[in-house]
């Protein structure tokens, strides 16, 4: 029943002499929402960027949808069905909202009108602003755009790096609701979040990353109830 969509084995990643990821294993089953928690600098972004091909690993393997993708360049991984909404949103500021969304569908011969309409339905703010330049959107709207853009390619796996970072609580709710909608539509989600409580509520399972190593893993319930996790990641946040 549980079929692995993504499997990372013994992954090592370095920036020059600095070892950022020191041998991690993780997997994501089809249909799951999996979250990676961890303090600033733990290596979450590095892990995601390596999975989507922007960084090269020094050791280990990454398998996606039954295919070894460790050496595949980032732009080819997208057409295999993986989409990565990066940390810091990275929308194309001088392109319009709609042009940004169409770039999300770059790998498709023709963009899917249904997907576009669906994005406009779950994130109506984007439709209101579709002719506006992305750089003139508010932070929350840019995050909506970054997520919408990432699902335009109709991915099997959606990777999200800190989608709620720096957003007001109302907008955090909107973003988490959108992620839930996307997950319920059948897309598998790998989510990195500072907001550990909200992430664990949404996720089926979670990993905790500390200084480039996975220190805890388990179902969301186990992690929510674990005392060490509560102290380190849930304690000060509400």
């Amino acid at each position: 029943m549980s079929e692995k969509l993504l499997e990372v084995k013994n992954l090592h990643v370095s920036y020059g002499a600095i070892k950022a990821i020191k041998g991690i294993d993780l997997y994501v089953n089809k249909g799951e929402v999996v979250t990676i928690l961890g303090a600033n600098g733990a290596g979450k972004t590095t892990t995601l960027r390596t999975i989507s091909g922007l960084l090269k690993s020094s050791e280990g393997s990454i398998t996606f949808d039954g295919k070894e993708i460790t050496q595949v360049p980032a732009h080819d991984i997208v057409s295999l069905g993986m989409s990565h909404s990066p940390e810091g949103r990275r929308v194309f500021g001088t392109l319009s909202v709609e042009e940004n969304l169409l770039m999300g569908a770059y790998t498709l011969k023709k963009h899917d009108k249904e997907t576009l309409n669906w994005i406009y339905k779950i994130l109506p703010r984007l439709q209101e602003r579709k002719m506006q330049l992305a750089g003139t959107l508010s932070g929350g709207e840019q995050q909506m755009l970054a997520i919408g853009r990432a699902i335009m390619s109709k991915p099997k796996l959606l990777i999200l790096d800190e989608p709620s970072l720096g957003l007001a609580p109302v907008l955090v709710k909107v973003i988490f609701k959108a992620i839930r909608d996307i997950s319920e539509s059948g897309v598998t989600v790998l989510l990195v979040e500072q907001n550990a409580k909200a992430a664990l509520k949404l996720a089926n399972r979670g990993y905790v990353l500390e200084l480039g190593k996975i220190t805890h893993e388990g179902s969301s319930e186990e992690l929510l109830n674990s005392e060490t996790i509560q102290e380190a990641y849930l304690g000060k946040k509400k």
């Binding site: 922007l54 732009h75 080819d76 909404s85 001088t94 392109l95 790998t107 750089g135 390619s153």
Partner: protein, 300 residues
């Protein structure tokens, strides 16, 4: 008034050529944040390649529309290939190196091309045949327009309007703009950045090739080192318009051509170059990012 109108025609002609060359600088800068200092020498190479194709294949005496079209197409293709090779050999290995290394590589590549032209075609000026285009001249109350000028204005306009629509209205053009803004984000959309860079060099080099041929046809005399002068003027045009900005390069080229022509007409052509730099300085004082360069500033 006659001088003014005549210099308007002359200025727009040379300005169109500057604009075509400036587009090559600005497109490469937009995507790679690199000044391709070898671009002017590609323009010069184009004139020599075109001259050789014309005299070798068609023979001096023959003029026909077919001959001219063939010369333009083949030369543009050859220069596009050289441009792509230039990127592969001189710039790609330095993609992640400090920018200064790439600048030095660009200057070096320019010298290599310049010396290659001198070795192949010799150090002396070569003269374009006068019969590539008909020698028709139109005279409107003393204001003269030649057939060659009309061709330069016409073809440049068509190419620039075409480029504008390609960049702003097509999927590939949008991908080029996206890549110019953020290469990593572009990769995450599935855009092959190396392919985009190749397309940029093909377009930029082809436009430069057209300009190089027109320079030969219009001014007739071509020298192995002429790329330096045209390259510098076009580079200044690109900066005036706002480097990285495509309409800016078109506008900057036309403006610089007009400005040069008016200085030549009313003061002296020997002052044109000095005033070019006065114009550059004045523009940069009041608009440090160039006249249409706001978008570049926004990106940083």
């Amino acid at each position: 008034m006659d001088i003014f109108l005549q210099q308007l025609v002359n200025g727009l002609t040379i300005g169109s050529l500057y604009a075509l060359v400036a587009l090559g600088y600005t497109m490469v800068y937009g995507v790679m944040k690199l000044i391709n200092f070898a671009h002017g020498d590609l323009v010069a190479l184009s004139a020599f390649v075109g001259l050789t194709i014309y005299t070798q294949v068609f023979g001096e005496g023959i003029t026909s529309l077919i001959a001219v079209i063939t010369v333009f197409m083949f030369t543009a293709a050859v220069i596009a290939v050289v441009g792509v090779l230039l990127e592969r050999l001189a710039y790609r290995p330095l993609r992640t190196a400090p920018r200064l290394s790439a600048v030095v590589s660009a200057l070096g590549a320019g010298l290599v091309i310049q010396n290659a032209i001198m070795l192949i075609w010799g150090p002396n000026m070569m003269i374009f045949p006068s019969n590539l285009f008909p020698s028709t001249i139109w005279n409107f109350n003393g204001i003269v327009i030649t057939f060659t000028q009309l061709m330069i204005l016409g073809l440049s306009s068509v190419l620039m309007v075409g480029l504008y629509f390609f960049i702003n209205r097509t999927k590939m053009g949008t991908a080029i703009r996206a890549t110019a803004i953020d290469q990593d984000a572009a990769k995450l959309m599935g855009i092959n950045v190396n392919k985009i860079i190749m397309i940029i060099f093909i377009i930029g080099s082809s436009l430069g090739a057209v300009a190089g041929l027109f320079i030969g046809i219009y001014y007739r005399g071509v020298t192995f080192d002429m790329g330096w002068m045209y390259g510098l003027n076009a580079f200044v045009a690109a900066i005036i318009g706002g480097i990285g900005n495509i309409p800016g390069a078109m506008f900057g080229g036309l403006m610089l051509g007009l400005f040069n022509a008016l200085i030549s007409g009313y003061i002296s052509s020997s002052w044109a170059e000095t005033f070019t730099f006065v114009l550059l300085i004045v523009v940069l004082i009041f608009r440090p990012t160039g006249i249409l360069g706001e978008k570049v500033a926004e990106k940083v």
